[in-house]
Structure formats: C-alpha cells, structure tokens
C-alpha cells in the first residue's frame, strides 16, 4: 500500500500535497510534511491558517479533498476498516477535552480498550489506573468528568488516548480552553511524554512549550506551510516576513 515508497522505517507520518476544501473555502492548500519517529512537531499560526485541519486529516476526522497521508507506512484510504485501524494507533487530544460525560474517568479510559483493543475488563482497568497515575490523578478514577477541573479533564483525555498504546499523539490546541492556572499541569504531562520519546504533533499557541519540547516548528498561514525550522533557529532567526510579523504579535 505504498509503504515501500514512503516508509524508510523512520517516518511515522508522511503527508503529501494535502488539500482540504470546505465548500469554496480552501482550508489547506497543498501541505507536505514528514514527522520522523520520536519527533515532536509543533504547528503554530494564526487562527484559520489550517493547522487544526491538517491535524484532523491525519486521523481522517476530516476527509482530505486530495493528497496522500501515510501513518507508520499505512496509507489512509476511504476504507472504513483501515481508518478505524489507523485511528486506534493515533491518539488525539481535543481542545474541548470531549470526555464521555456519562462515564467515570476510569470508564472513559477503559471503554475503547475493551471494544477496540478487545482487552478484558481487568487488563483494561489495570492499564487505565496506570495511565491515570502517569498523568498525576490516580485518585480521580471514579469521578465523573463534570466533577473534574478543566486541567484534570484534559489529563484524563490524554490518559484515555495513551491507554490505546498509540504510535503517535495528536494535540489540537490542548490548553486553549483551560484557565491559565491549569495550563501548566497539562503542558507538564505533554513535556514528560515528549521526553519519553512519543511521536507528537501539537497545534498550540504555547510558545514556551514549542521552544522546550519541539524538535521542529512548522509555521502555517492561509493553508500553507510558510516556514519550518528547529525552535532555536525559528525563534532567533525567522526567515519569512510573515513569520516575523506573527512572532512580533505573539511574543510582545
């Protein structure tokens, strides 16, 4: 399935000429991006620049208008079985957490393990508790999402994704809906994940996180990648005038 052409064993995600149109609006205008195994790529850019859409195309929450995407050598097609299989390997964390409100934190984490991974209840439970421990809130196992703070909810959402043993984690503005005092607890969990070698693609406005955790920064504007560089180079010597304009806005 094209794996030979694009999987040299190092590339976890390969995106080629991705285009996504919503009606007449071009959200993504031909984006190519490669994310190597173990790399953390942070995508930044003004709102409406198409960064979230790129992320959502990677696990087919949006169907690309054209272009090709490989995840760990598997090409994304329109076949539902394949898409479900790939999604199980790609963890996603949303801006609005999207925890299941009718289930406890623990049940949120065990559900997909049981119905997708076919793990038995005890195994799923054990893994869920381990993941809650990892994100620092083991005592909240039996709490419902409505009883948790935003930061705690987002950490449960991260634990839920991690429990599936994903090969990649996608973060779609994970701290944008949080109160300022809760942002750090979520970023700390993400930094820890990055240190452990998880492959991550992160859309965020947190420049501190980008500087500390990213191997590469991708700056997008109007559906295109404008500039792509290591954090040191990107922040110290931005090449493009649009990048400089954006950075001067955001880093006052």
């Amino acid at each position: 399935m094209g794996a030979a052409a694009n999987g040299n064993g190092q590339d976890m995600i390969v995106i080629r000429n991705l285009v996504k149109r919503f009606g007449h609006v071009e959200a993504v205008n031909g984006v190519s991006l490669t994310v190597a195994r173990g790399q953390v790529v942070v995508i930044i850019g003004p709102s409406g620049s198409g960064k979230s859409t790129v992320l959502r195309c990677i696990n087919h929450l949006e169907t690309p208008t054209s272009g090709e995407i490989w995840v760990d050598g598997m090409k994304l097609t329109h076949n539902h079985k394949d898409i479900n299989a790939i999604r199980a390997e790609v963890g996603m964390v949303f801006q609005q957490f999207n925890l299941f409100p009718h289930l406890t934190a623990l049940e949120n984490i065990t559900l997909a393990q049981k119905v997708v991974r076919r793990r038995d209840a005890r195994e799923a439970d054990r893994i869920a508790r381990a993941q809650l421990e990892r994100v620092g809130i083991p005592e909240k196992a039996d709490a419902y999402p409505g009883q948790l703070s935003g930061g705690q909810q987002q950490r449960v959402a991260i634990a839920r994704a991690l429990a599936m043993n994903p090969k990649v984690m996608l973060f779609d503005e994970p701290t944008s809906a949080l109160d300022p005092e809760m942002i750090k607890e979520v970023l700390d969990v993400m930094l820890e994940l990055a240190r452990e070698g998880m492959t991550m693609v992160v859309v965020t406005h947190e420049m501190g996180f980008a500087r500390n955790a990213a191997n590469e920064i991708v700056f997008m504007d109007k559906g295109l990648i404008v500039e792509q560089n290591t954090p040191d180079e990107f922040f110290a010597n931005p090449r493009e005038s649009r990048t400089r304009a954006f950075l001067s806005q955001i880093l006052r």
Binding site: N59, A88, F94, N98, P101, H102, V115, A161
Partner: protein, 287 residues
C-alpha cells in the same frame, strides 16, 4: 408611623392571601371533587358498579395493547431515528419517507389502512412468494397457506399503533442524538471505534437519558390512543363501554366511568413521569 404601618400591613397581608389563594392548584381540587363524586356513585349507585365491572374486562386489553405497542414503537423509533441521522442516502431517505408518511396521516386512518389494506397486501405477497417457491418448498408450504385471518384484529391494531408511534419516537431519538455534541462522536472515532460502537457506547447512552421525559409523555399518549383500537372491535375498555351503551343507552353513566378510568391511569402515570424527570434533573451529569 404606627397608623401607617397598621393600615399597610393588613392590606399587604390581604394581598398575600389573595396571591396565595390564586396559586393553589385549583384544577386538582376540582378534579378530586369530581373523582370523589364519582367514587360515591360507584359505592352507592348500582348502575355505576355494573358499568365499572364491564369496563374492568377490557382493562387488561388496554394495558396489553399499550405496553406491547409502545415497546415495539421504541424499537422501531430507535431504528428509524438512527436512519434519520444516517449519512447513507438510501437509509436516510427510507427513514424520512416512513416518518413523513406517519406524521401526515391521522392515526385512525392509519389503523384502518394497516388492518384492511397493508395486512391483506402483505399476505397476497407472501402467498405469491409461496407459490413461486413451491418447487422448492412443496405445493402446500407455509408461505402459500398463510392467510390474512391468521393475524387477529388485535394484532393488526397493535402493529398499526406501534408503527404510528414509531414514527414519532424516530423524531424524538433523532433530536436526542443530534443534541449530543459533535465532539463526542469525534472523540469516540479517534479512539478507533466504529460508527456503531460510538453510537452504542457513547452517543445513545447520553441521548436516551435526554429523551426519557418525552418518551414518558408519549407513553401516556399511547395509553390514550390505545382507545382507537376499539374501531376494529378490539375489546379494550373503550369498546366495552361502547358495547354497554349500545345495549343500555346509559350514556352519561357509561362515559363518566370510562373517562374516570382513563384519567386515573393517565394522572398516576404523569406523576410517575414527573418523578423520573425530577430524579434525572438532580443527577447533575446530564451534559
């Protein structure tokens, strides 16, 4: 000072009294009064006792029709409701056609139609199929022997009511499903769940909780509409009342009693629905 307060306080007390008087549930008082009057009649007037006795024979039929038709309607409504939110154009259009037809027909007309047009048509089709398959199944197979009369009028009435209410419940379920945020489906799918797994484990448990109050109201409506089966001669309490009236011409006594029986059942049921609703409301994890 003292004079002012002494004149103002009685008038405001009076205002309070009138206000409180107006807020009393007078409708309930009047209803209870009517009920007590009727109860008194049941105890003292032999005619009422006789009528109540006659109606009691139909009560099991009324309850049976209501329960079977309503539970079938829930299943039909759930399937059709899922069809109404389906992205598959064939499924969506079939479900929408069903809902539109049901909503556009009076239930009474629909009952006649099911009983005397659709049921015979179904058996004509079955017989034709049986004849066509006779080389395979033998000349006297169960398909070609099936007869319209095999389905009693009670059965046809229940089928008609089930499909009529199924159309309403489909819209209730559709609204419930659509009231759950898009993010829930996305989160479930992003974890690798299929559409149906996401529906079953994530969307429907939340949607069903939200539609319980309207479903409760529809259950009460079904109890009332079960009286329509009397037009097919099914002996529910309405039919028992009609039969008694036809022989005795005791209109007020019979229909007083009939109304009393329905009202007692619906008021008790609506109190139960209210109770369930209040309990769900307290349970603060609705959204």
């Amino acid at each position: 000072m003292a004079a002012v307060s002494s004149t103002s306080s009685p008038s405001s007390a009076q205002g309070n009294f009138v206000g409180r008087l107006a807020q009393l549930p007078w409708w309930l008082l009047l209803l209870v009064l009517a009920g007590v009057t009727l109860l008194y009649q049941f105890l003292t007037n032999e005619l009422y006792t006789v009528i109540l006795d006659k109606l009691a024979r139909g009560i099991m039929t009324t309850i049976f029709v209501t329960l079977v038709a309503f539970s079938s309607a829930i299943v039909i409504g759930l399937i059709a409701g899922l069809g109404r939110v389906s992205k598959n154009p064939v499924i969506y259009n079939l479900a929408t056609l069903y809902v539109q037809v049901i909503r556009g027909l009076p239930i009474l007309v629909w009952i006649f139609y099911v009983a005397f047009v659709l049921t015979p048509a179904f058996f004509t089709l079955t017989n034709a199929l049986g004849d066509a398959l006779s080389p395979l199944l033998g000349a006297d197979n169960f398909l070609s022997k099936a007869n319209t009369q095999d389905v009693t009028l009670l059965g046809r009435a229940i089928i008609a009511l089930a499909f009529a209410y199924g159309g309403f419940e489909a819209e209730t379920f559709r609204a419930g499903i659509q009231s759950i945020g898009r993010g829930q489906m996305e989160a479930a799918r992003s974890l690798g769940m299929s559409y149906f797994q996401a529906m079953r484990y994530v969307i429907l448990p939340q949607a069903v909780r939200r539609v319980l109050p309207p479903l409760g109201n529809d259950f009460i409506a079904m109890l009332k509409d079960s009286s329509l089966v009397s037009v097919l001669g099914v002996r529910d309490i309405t039919q028992e009342a009609r039969l008694y009236v036809a022989a005795s011409f005791r209109y007020p006594e019979t229909y007083n009693t009939l109304a009393f029986v329905y009202l007692s059942m619906t008021i008790v049921l609506s109190l139960i629905v209210k109770g369930v609703e209040a309990r769900l409301g307290k349970d603060g994890r609705g959204s």
